[in-house]
């Protein structure tokens, strides 16, 4: 089957997941993002690339940072951005997802940026557009359920490349609530595709997906053992809102065993970087001193996120 993200010339048509995306496309996105980082230093922080294009932010689930960085990215490319807070609009009145999409198509949308609590919702929209022959409209997945968050994965790869240059020499650890994390899935796909020789996932058994080893990672249930000599520590947020039942004791106990402290970080390489996709729970998965420490690159991640989203949008719609 054809990769639904690529058009018949092998170019990016939608960005739905990093799973199955070829290495040359990942690298092209990172390369395209590089010159965009400089735009933020200009007096006029705008490039005319998407002038006249309409981009609709469809957020069926709350998000501040992701929606804002997508909005800034689109505006820096001179696009017109419309934010729909769908949870308080037509959907609440009973309109179906695809009816909403059709209505926005009738308003001459060029691109949808979609966040949805249901895994696969952006795929559904992409399929619907394909069935209607609308190959001129593009979809970016801004996070769907537990499935994928590709632009977060890409900005993480950009950050790693910025600080570590070569992927093929690295040991990378992903720590925490992998089970509920769409970010972790996108990270693992991208790290593997880009040739990272050792990807570790570290977490309690109850918060790791079953058969996670099949994604090509090494599993550790002991944080100290797992962090030994790693170059990159990617922390995940403890997803309280996605958790049902008693997967965990209390956040305090989680912190004691799985929280990243300076003492545990000392087991990693001395030049290891610490990443976090945000929003952070200080004192739950990460200690404040580490989050604000010299090894943390959490705020550069946010800045690079704008350039990476600019790159994806311009590759799709330009």
């Amino acid at each position: 089957m054809r990769n639904p993200q690529l058009n018949k010339n092998g170019e990016l048509q939608h960005l739905l997941t990093l799973d199955g995306l070829p290495r040359d496309i990942l690298t092209a996105i990172l390369d395209t993002a590089a010159p965009f980082t400089e735009v933020a230093e200009r007096e006029v922080k705008k490039l005319p690339i998407l002038r006249g294009k309409s981009i609709f932010n469809l957020f069926f689930e709350n998000s501040t940072r992701t929606r804002t960085t997508f909005e800034i990215a689109a505006k820096r490319l001179s696009a017109d951005v419309v934010n729909l807070n769908v949870s308080t609009s037509s959907t609440a009145k009973g309109e179906s997802l695809l009816d909403t999409v059709d209505n926005l198509c009738a308003m001459q949308a060029d691109m949808f940026v979609v966040r949805h609590a249901a895994s696969g919702a952006p795929f559904l929209i992409a399929q619907h557009l394909f069935a209607n022959g609308r190959n001129d409209i593009h979809v970016i997945n801004a996070g769907d359920g537990r499935h994928a968050h590709p632009t977060q994965g890409l900005l993480d790869m950009y950050t790693i490349r910025h600080f570590k240059q070569d992927f093929t020499q690295l040991t990378v650890a992903i720590v925490g609530d992998v089970l509920h994390s769409r970010v972790a899935r996108s990270q693992i796909s991208a790290l593997t595709t880009l040739g990272v020789p050792e990807v570790r996932v570290i977490g309690p058994k109850t918060l790791l997906p079953t058969e996670v080893e099949r994604m090509g990672v090494r599993v550790f249930h002991d944080m100290r053992e797992g962090l030994k000599d790693v170059d990159v520590v990617m922390m995940l947020r403890l997803q309280n809102e996605r958790m049902n039942g008693a997967l965990l004791p209390t956040p305090q106990e989680f912190y004691k065993v799985w929280g990243l402290t300076a003492e545990k970080l000392a087991l990693a390489r001395p030049d290891a970087i610490v990443m976090h996709p945000g929003p952070m729970n200080r004192g739950v998965e990460i200690d404040s001193a580490v989050a604000d420490g010299a090894q943390a690159v959490i705020l550069p991640q946010v800045t690079f996120g704008i350039a990476v989203r600019m790159a994806v949008m311009s590759m799709l719609a330009a």
């Binding site: 395209t32 010159p35 400089e38 007096e43 006029v44 490039l47 690339i49 590759m315």
Partner: protein
Amino acid sequence: MKSLDAESLCSALIEQMRPHVGPDTLLVGIHTGGVWLADRLHPALGLAAAPGSIDVSYYRDDFGSRGLNTKAKRTDIPFNVEGAHVIIVDDVLYTGRTTRAALNELFDFGRPAKVELAVLVDRGGRELPIAARYCAYTLPDPLPPQQILELQKNQDDSLTLRLIDA
């Protein structure tokens, strides 16, 4: 067309510009030939600030038909252009569209007091109302569109102009 010696044209351009520049004049080269040329002009004219560079890929008016250039270079303007005397430098002046794009991009960094254009060769074929203030050589007859005239940098850093039949 008689062969054009890029090195002697470069010297001629420097002499043309010399009476009109001061130490505070800023050069901005257009990638890639214009950047090489600006690197030559800068020490010869005794300018204080190192030249800036512009990649106009994202500002071109034919952007939609050409698609995105993933190999675009970084635009680098390492000085404040506000109120400055800026000279845009390019190797060959043709339709004028590259110059227009460079002007648009330059103004996103501030409002210069004066902007001029310096080129090695004017090959004719203008499609916009743009003229070079400094030009070492103007071809007597415009080149046909299927021919490409471009500057090349050799291993010993010398410059050559090459005519290619596309």
